[in-house]
């Protein structure tokens, strides 16, 4: 580890911290105020899109309508993307003549981008036409991010809105379509357009040219993939999607050419999830509620970064007997321009948030370095988390923590003045249990079937880690991989596809149900038995609950993979 490495990490976190309030205020104004920002610039587009889509922004939806809108829209989007992928050979913008995609890969990929996962069983440059990249994939990058923000807002509204005296049992959680449109108009499209041009100025490509055949300095032939990369690259980071234009993702110099762009990409990942905690504080009328959530996330983020950086700064013991100067650390799968710190930080950020872009190959990390991304995902993608998904996931843990605190003092727990009762806890438990259930069942199943293990690139405990990482990543809607695993087979495409659907919608449904049941509850003023949720004590409790739930669920299975490997590696046990 170097001082300069730590400086990069601290500067990065300082920038995230500095962005949280201004962007949070902006988001709050966009979604929760009558006076939206920059009306001259965005107002006309806002009204036009509402009219084109036939949406009345003032029509409030209850939780069932909100969920139904999300599901119908998602289903339509999947079908459209599936068809574009299958028939891409008959559609325009395909200068390389890429063939139509198989049904199982098209299913996996359509679902993957729809659920904001961006798991990729394919290599972009050898599989996808430019039209598929732009329309079938990047379109979902935008709308799945917008949908995530919408669900987070709906839950936040359910928790923080107080029913008016003349309207007991009020049900309105906002309007899904309007939340989606406004996330595009006020946030994602303008930010992406500006950032994409900054990306291009530093070397990210943006063209529709056929691939080049370059004669190198020595006269050899070097084929070189082209494409409209920058426009997709930005939303891939800002929407915490993570699906790369190219197979190597953000390690590819055309996606991520410099250390400066690397920093900007990491900022894009955390910007919206961090800002949403601030916007939430505004909605809760107590900014400390937002900051406690922010700092709970920050504590877990800093712990993960430290561990990953420390682990990757160590030499790989397998190579240490040879005449190799390894003082720099574990460079397999990493780029020189990012170095160890820039790679370990990126790996932590991308798995804390459910982004899943990679600038180095997690499969080649040291055992403990690779454990960090895996644990980040398995804690439930709530360390800043996906756009929107991080906030609603964290709020479920907040309610669980309040409930546990209530049990300890023997009083009915309440949060922001609203009582937490049996229904909310049932929904929380569904949310929390579905996640490990899907991961563990499919991991076990794949580990004992030929269809599962034939995809492995590594054997021994590391091979098991590849399987566990794949299903964790799919259920957490992350999308990064221990990428040696060759998952473009019917078994893997279908099981991972189902995992992604369950990890998204089977978790959003209880969240919205909870939002619905909390919405109409009357608030009671805090009494002496109320457990305050805006203090450091609660931060400790919240982080503790997250770690205990995560550890109890996943420690046994982690001990079979990365933990076992960490004990074997120093003894030069190879597989």
């Amino acid at each position: 580890m170097t001082w300069n490495g730590w400086l990069q990490i601290l500067v990065y976190f300082g920038l995230v911290l500095a962005l949280t309030k201004p962007l949070g205020v902006y988001l709050h104004r966009v979604f929760e105020s009558g006076e939206r920002p920059l009306p001259r610039l965005f107002g006309p587009a806002d009204r036009l899109l509402h009219r084109l889509c036939g949406v009345d922004p003032n029509q409030e939806q209850d939780w069932k309508q909100y969920l139904l809108s999300l599901l119908v829209f998602s289903l339509m989007g999947t079908v459209v993307s599936f068809l574009i992928l299958v028939f891409q050979d008959r559609l325009p913008l395909n200068p390389q003549g890429q063939e139509g995609v198989s049904w199982h890969l098209a299913f996996n990929t359509a679902v993957s981008f729809l659920t904001n996962t961006n798991w990729q069983s394919y290599a972009g440059e050898t599989t996808m036409s430019y039209l598929s990249q732009m329309v079938a994939l990047a379109w979902h990058n935008f709308v799945s991010a917008g949908a995530g923000i919408g669900v987070a807002l709906a839950l936040a509204r359910g928790l923080t809105r107080r029913p008016a005296p003349d309207d007991p049992g009020a049900k309105g959680l906002g309007n899904f379509w309007s939340d989606l449109i406004r996330s595009l108009v006020y946030l994602l499209l303008p930010a992406c357009t500006v950032l994409a041009l900054i990306f291009v100025s530093q070397g990210v490509i943006q063209n529709f040219a056929p691939y080049l055949d370059v004669a190198t300095l020595e006269g050899a032939l070097q084929p070189m993939a082209m494409g409209p990369v920058a426009s997709q690259e930005v939303i891939k980071m800002l929407g915490t999607n993570g699906g790369g234009f190219f197979n190597a993702n953000s390690a590819h110099p055309f996606e991520n050419p410099t250390a400066f762009i690397n920093l900007l990409q990491m900022l894009c990942i955390f910007a919206i999830p961090a800002a949403l905690t601030y916007a939430y504080g505004r909605m809760a009328r107590d900014q400390r509620e937002g900051w406690i959530i922010f700092w709970s996330m920050a504590v877990l983020f800093l712990a993960g970064t430290t561990t990953a950086y420390w682990a990757e700064s160590h030499a790989n013991p397998a190579l240490s007997g040879l005449a190799i100067e390894q003082s720099v650390g574990n460079m397999e799968g990493k780029e020189v321009r990012f170095g160890i710190a820039g790679s370990a930080l990126f790996a932590t950020v991308t798995t804390d948030a459910s982004c899943g872009a990679v600038n180095s190959m997690h499969d080649s990390f040291t055992p403990l370095g690779g454990l960090v991304p895996l644990v980040n995902i398995e804690l439930g993608e709530i360390i800043f988390g996906g756009v929107g998904a991080g906030l609603y996931g964290m709020l479920v843990f907040v309610l669980l923590s309040v409930f546990i605190a209530g049990l300890m003092v023997g009083r009915t727990p309440e949060y922001l003045g609203k009582k937490i009762e049996a229904r909310e806890m049932q929904m929380s438990m569904i949310y929390i249990l579905i996640f490990p259930l899907v991961i563990l069942i499919f991991t076990a199943w794949s580990s004992v079937t030929e269809a599962g293990v034939s995809a492995l690139a590594n054997s021994g405990p590391h091979g098991f880690s590849e399987i566990l990482y794949a299903y964790s990543s799919a259920a957490g809607n992350n999308g990064s991989a221990f990428a040696g695993l060759s998952t473009n087979t019917p078994w893997w495409n279908v099981t991972l596809g189902l995992t992604m659907v369950l990890g998204r919608f089977a978790m959003i449904a209880p969240v919205l149900a909870m939002a619905g049941s909390m919405r109409g509850k009357r608030t009671v003023p805090p009494g002496p038995g109320t457990f305050p949720t805006n203090c450091l004590l609660f931060l400790g409790l919240l982080v503790g609950v997250i770690l205990i739930v995560g550890a109890l669920t996943f420690f046994p299975v982690l001990s079979l993979g990365p933990v076992l490997e960490a004990f074997l590696a120093p003894h030069n046990r190879l597989f």
């Binding site: 943006q206 190198t216 300095l217 082209m226 190597a248 920093l263 190799i324 080649s364």
Partner: protein, 196 residues
């Protein structure tokens, strides 16, 4: 329900056209107008004007008179239509075999008296297209390059030194040497190396 279906259909069409077509086309137009060279891949030309590669994409070098890049897992090596890393784990026997083979080749080509081999020269990058070496990994190859070109060691060292790029903004990333730029600089100063 019918209402939701109609809105869903219209929203699907509107967002698809807006974010899937209009947005990337607008970005492409602006990028081509403002930064045409970068948008096309930052291609590098030699003195005759022929494209010899991209300044961002590493390429293979085998002539002992050129500096060599890191091992690559992209296709057969530095295939920029097949990017990717080796994905070999830390306890992989294949990883060790590959490193041992690269090590033996490097020691044979460079001689035994350059000290231990810098890690980048026996580890594959994540993209398989890493255009850079650490300064240390470039210096390590100076004796071979100067021998193959019949030059004094310090003249080649000076070219390496001139081609070291420091950390961006003074603290971002790591110091590095662009292998293609370095080899082009050698050619400019000393001519092309003899074919081997």
């Amino acid at each position: 329900m019918k209402n939701i279906l109609v809105i869903a259909l219209r929203t699907t069409l509107v967002t698809l056209v807006l974010t899937g077509l209009i947005y990337p086309l607008v970005v492409t137009g602006a990028a081509q107008a403002l930064f045409p060279a970068q948008a096309q891949g930052s291609l590098v030309k030699d003195e005759k004007g022929a494209v010899v590669g991209s300044e961002l994409i590493g390429q293979a070098f085998v002539n002992p008179g050129y500096f060599q890049p890191r091992p690559s897992a992209a296709g057969e090596g530095y295939n920029a239509t097949a990017s990717g890393g080796s994905n070999l784990g830390p306890t992989s026997a294949k990883l060790k075999e590959r490193a041992e083979a690269d090590l033996a080749r490097l020691l044979e080509e460079n001689g035994q008296d350059n000290g231990p081999v810098p890690a980048e020269l026996v580890t594959a990058s994540g993209s398989g297209l890493d255009p850079h070496l650490s300064p240390r990994a470039a210096y390590w190859q100076v004796s071979r390059v100067s021998r193959a070109r019949g030059l004094a060691r310090d003249r080649v060292e000076a070219v390496v030194r001139d081609n070291i790029e420091g950390r961006e903004l003074g603290f971002l990333g790591e110091a590095k040497v662009n292998v293609l730029a370095l080899n082009l600089a050698l050619d400019r100063q000393f001519g092309r190396p003899a074919a081997r």
